[in-house]
């Protein structure tokens, strides 16, 4: 059976690696190419790279950075940020990226999505859904570019994304992002109920152990993603790229 994935998420801004808290206060962490090299050595399951500048400035995907990153990557790479056209998608794949993640395009219902899925296959296009609670505690779709929240029925929205043909959905819990406060299990469980395509959840992880226990408790969860727990280490949050040891994970009985 397929193993559940543990996936580091790297945020890139101005060509450097940054880390956020609740999608704000982006702190400098280091060189993305170096980080990818280290993750590669640690044989991570997969990497997600999100370029924050591209979407915010209506710019293109960061092709140059991508070219350098893919050279160091012997694991699957998912890229998101500034993907606005079919041509962007094609270029990204030709550089050596496995999956393209769409966020703004999904929010804007961009017409190229359908063609991208038909041309490249559902398995290569994933949707990123940023979720944030409003004042009343309701889960909302969060547009981080416009900084706007929109109250939605998460189940319905998930179904719509499935019907559109996406191969995977990455749910990002904005309220958990960078906080180490623990994964929002209620949100996760409710999201898991709705879908039959692979789901990855990100945001709020407190530790490696928590990631593994969440995977154990949610066997249908395709993957768990995190940023801070793989970048910071120790009491004082020193920057140290880290990842659970594979020899502890991959054995006959473990699926995570």
């Amino acid at each position: 059976m397929v193993y559940q994935r543990i996936i580091p998420v790297l945020l890139v801004k101005d060509n450097v690696l940054v880390k956020s808290v609740n999608f704000k206060s982006h702190k400098y962490v280091g060189d993305p190419i170096n980080a990818v090299k280290i993750f590669n050595e640690k044989e991570v399951d997969e990497l997600i790279i999100l370029d924050l500048d591209a979407s915010k400035h209506n710019g293109e995907p960061n092709y140059n950075l991508l070219k350098s990153l893919t050279r160091e990557c012997f694991m699957p790479l998912t890229y998101g940020g500034g993907v606005n056209t079919l041509n962007d998608v094609e270029r990204i794949f030709s550089i050596g990226v496995e999956k393209v993640s769409l966020n703004q395009a999904v929010l804007n219902n961009a017409p190229f999505i359908e063609e991208a899925i038909n041309t490249f296959g559902a398995q290569s296009i994933s949707a990123i859904v940023n979720i944030k609670k409003d004042f009343f505690g309701n889960y909302c779709l969060f547009d981080y570019k416009k900084k706007k929240k929109k109250r939605i029925d998460l189940h319905k929205y998930t179904k719509e994304l499935e019907d559109k043909g996406f191969g995977e959905i990455l749910y990002y819990d904005v309220d958990g992002d960078g906080t180490f406060k623990g994964i929002n299990q209620d949100l996760l469980k409710s999201l898991m109920k709705s879908t039959s395509i692979p789901v990855v959840f990100c945001g709020g992880a407190a530790s490696h152990e928590e990631l593994i226990s969440v995977l154990k408790d949610n066997r249908n969860l395709s993957g768990i993603a995190a940023g801070s727990v793989f970048i910071y280490h120790g009491k004082h949050n020193a920057v140290l790229i880290n990842y659970p040891q594979n020899k502890d994970r991959y054995n006959d009985n473990n699926l995570y």
């Binding site: 193993y3 990557c73 794949f93 050596g96 990226v97 490249f120 296959g121 191969g167 692979p198 991959y250």
Partner: protein, 200 residues
């Protein structure tokens, strides 16, 4: 020396990177003449069946590859590249190379598993003494991402993998090899496989 076909349908960069890391010689090819003089071919593939066949045909690569492989040049099809080596797929209407008999089917929704099959999974070797998997007991896991799987006759199955069904994760007949998974994205397991194909 191995020639990697670049027809815009596959992930060529990563395959080249792995070969570079291993110190193996590669050349990325786009034209029929280059296929005709290739010693060994790798056909990557990402995307959908018909779109891929169209691209290969438009660029005069379809017949070039067919001829070269029928002449005996070894070929390794990766992911969609593997599926193209067969007769066809439920995903599309076009015919593949038909180097290996069989069609591709979609994973059944009734399996109650997420589709596509996405992530790391293990493979079990079914053929003894095969050059890509010389040791039947060797542990191998690879990265899979696909919604369609190969249905071939038993003698063409090289490895099988479990995902609701026990399906052929790699196939082999004579000089034709196909792997459903992505060796270029499978760390040391992929390095090992590409190295073995290189030295066939």
């Amino acid at each position: 020396m191995v020639s990697i076909v670049d027809s815009g349908i596959g992930n060529v960069g990563s395959i080249v990177s792995m070969h570079d890391y291993l110190g193996l010689e590669t050349v990325v090819i786009k034209h029929a003449e280059e296929v005709a003089s290739a010693r060994k071919l790798i056909l990557p593939g990402v995307g959908s069946y018909d779109a891929a066949i169209d691209k290969l045909t438009r660029q005069d690569l379809f017949h070039a590859i067919k001829d070269r492989v029928n002449e005996g040049a070894p070929i390794l099809g990766i992911c969609l590249g593997m599926q193209l080596l067969m007769e066809g797929s439920e995903e599309g209407l076009k015919s593949g190379f038909s180097f290996i008999n069989g069609h591709c089917k979609k994973f059944d929704n009734k399996l109650n598993l997420p589709i596509p099959h996405l992530g790391w999974n293990t493979v079990g070797v079914k053929k003894n003494g095969n050059q890509l998997f010389p040791d039947v007991n060797e542990y191998n896991r690879f990265y899979f991402v696909h919604s369609f799987y190969a249905c071939v006759s038993n003698e063409d199955i090289l490895t099988t993998t479990d995902y609701g069904v026990n399906f052929a994760s790699s196939i082999h007949s004579n000089n034709v090899y196909g792997v459903q998974f992505h060796p270029e994205k499978s760390h040391r397991f992929g390095l090992s496989l590409l190295n073995r194909f290189y030295y066939l």
